[in-house]
């Protein structure tokens, strides 16, 4: 059971929900940039939450499936791709060509049984800066052959047979990702961080009042923003401290950087804000050129947003499990 890579796309990597418990050794959890869409994709093919899928970025890959494979593509809308947000049975020898992203930046292609790569430090996620995890610690290239579970094709047919309300090789229902931007600028909640007060008042206002544009040199480690320059009256150096997914650092250039999935575990730049964790997956769906507005919130609001997003996702996952009950 394999998937062959005819064209790798811009940055296609194996990802799951990341590796935890190693940050004190400098190893970040990493994992899917948009874990909500990954969870949906896994659920739609009947996988457990820990299965690994392909993260597809901005320009999609072209893949050939050796045998019948149940797949689901969730997240960003890509040109020419198969119907999104629903299970699709790709027949043996079937080719899947995913073009350019039309809306959003990242999609997740899950297959029944998951992508079988050897876990590294408890996760199948590709950690590009460390060159380990996933498929040989790197993004996919032309000619790569991904291995699936031995019984993946049997599993695919069984699970497809159990699906309710079928039509052809797919179903008549869909379960959309809630992380796709409806309109821009995307509203992202953020709270003032520990170094917020050290920025001058114009910079404090500018951070929450401006529309920020995502710069081209953004990647899985961090999103850089262009907009007004943020300044600290006393430009004193700070001690390196632990960082967090969604921390917004401001290097001496004055242009903020939001730390994304593969960020470093510690950092020595002052932090102006922390993005609410519920909103990080929505930020991850923006490509360079996309625009963001930061809405100031409290820690309490951020917790509410996270719990609310969790409850809504759980309800959707239960609904999908119901369709797959057979």
């Amino acid at each position: 059971m394999t998937i062959s890579v005819l064209r790798p796309g811009l940055l296609t990597t194996v990802q799951d929900h990341g590796r935890h418990g190693f940050q004190h050794l400098g190893v970040i959890p990493g994992g899917a940039m948009d874990p909500v869409s990954l969870s949906l994709a896994n659920a739609l093919v009947g996988n457990t939450a820990d299965a690994a899928a392909l993260e597809i970025t901005i320009l999609g890959p072209e893949l050939v499936f050796a045998e019948d494979t149940l797949v689901a593509l969730c997240g960003a809308e890509f040109h020419g791709a198969l119907p999104r947000h629903r299970p699709v049975l790709v027949p043996a020898g079937g080719k899947l060509s995913i073009g350019r992203a039309q809306r959003g930046a990242r999609a997740y292609l899950a297959v029944a049984g998951g992508i079988s790569v050897e876990p590294a430090l408890g996760s199948r996620s590709t950690y590009l800066p460390g060159r380990f995890g996933g498929y040989q610690g790197r993004a996919l290239r032309r000619g790569d052959v991904l291995t699936l579970r031995e019984d993946a094709s049997m599993l695919s047919r069984q699970r497809f047979a159990r699906l309710a309300r079928k039509k052809g090789s797919s179903v008549q229902w869909r379960s959309p990702s809630p992380t796709l931007p409806e309109h821009e600028p995307v509203l992202v909640h953020a709270m003032p961080a520990q170094d917020y007060e050290s920025f001058d008042s114009a910079s404090q206002r500018a951070f929450f009042d401006s529309v920020w544009k995502i710069a081209p040199e953004s990647n899985r480690m961090g999103f850089r923003f262009t907009g007004p320059s943020l300044a600290r009256p006393q430009g004193d150096e700070i001690l390196s401290g632990p960082t967090c997914l969604g921390s917004v650092q401001v290097p001496p250039s004055g242009a903020p950087i939001a730390l994304m999935a593969d960020h470093q575990t510690t950092g020595g730049y002052p932090r102006i804000a922390e993005i609410a964790s519920a909103d990080v997956p929505r930020l991850a769906q923006l490509a360079p050129g996309g625009t963001v507005h930061f809405a100031r919130c409290t820690l309490e609001t951020s917790v509410e947003l996270r719990l609310d997003a969790r409850r809504r996702l759980d309800a959707v996952l239960q609904g999908i499990a119901w369709e797959l009950r057979g």
Binding site: G21, F22, H24, L25, F132, I238, P242, T266
Partner: protein, 201 residues
């Protein structure tokens, strides 16, 4: 910071996935599925840890011995450090390897340990322009700290030697040679020993 981190780690609070000590703070990373108040939980954890006596610094971490070859080829900045520090070049290895270091924090890259304890006579500022790529295993110094580069990565510290040890390997049962709180000693070796140890890695 190290003592508090060790005490919290010993408590092993279920909802905390990562305990990360750093120079400027200590992070508790919570399970995203945790549905209580993170602030209250963090306070309770720190309070419980501080109620008991924190572990002594002397009991923290392991002792790690790091063989270092200080040959010119491995230490391209030896001359520069000697000049900046006003020392004879031949004194650098002995000054560097006679101190005991403490891993203060791991960051920047997997296994990339920042160690305090450098002899003040060797304290030179970071180099004006960082190198685009420093070879894996390079031993470097800046200010009052020492580092060992786990991978070939960019870096602005002064490189004075190289260890043949593999600093980080995700496939190893103990992936990182260093952990926060470890006590580290550098031991000078020659080229032949470097070669022998390299081959065993």
């Amino acid at each position: 910071m190290q003592r508090l981190a060790a005490a919290i780690r010993a408590q092993a609070p279920a909802q905390v996935l990562d305990v990360v000590p750093a120079l400027g703070g200590l992070a508790l990373h919570f399970d995203p599925a945790f549905d209580g108040s993170v602030l209250d939980a963090a306070n309770a954890i720190v309070e419980a840890a501080s109620k008991k006596r924190l572990p002594d610094l002397g009991d923290l971490g392991r002792e790690v011995e790091v063989p270092v070859c200080y040959d010119d080829e491995f230490g391209p900045d030896l001359d520069e450090v000697a000049k900046k520090a006003g020392l004879a070049k031949k004194d650098i290895p002995s000054l560097h390897s006679s101190a005991e270091y403490r891993v203060l924090m791991i960051g920047f890259a997997p296994g990339h340990a920042y160690m305090g304890g450098l002899d003040a006579r060797l304290a030179v500022p970071r180099r004006a322009s960082p190198r685009a790529s420093v070879p894996a295993g390079s031993v470097a110094i800046a200010n009052l700290q020492a580092v060992v580069y786990p991978y070939a990565i960019s870096g602005g510290w002064s490189v004075i030697g190289r260890t043949p040890l593999t600093v980080f390997d995700a496939g190893r049962s103990r992936p990182s040679l260093f952990s926060p709180g470890d006590r580290v000693r550098f031991v000078a070796i020659d080229r032949r020993q470097f070669q022998e140890i390299s081959e065993k890695q």
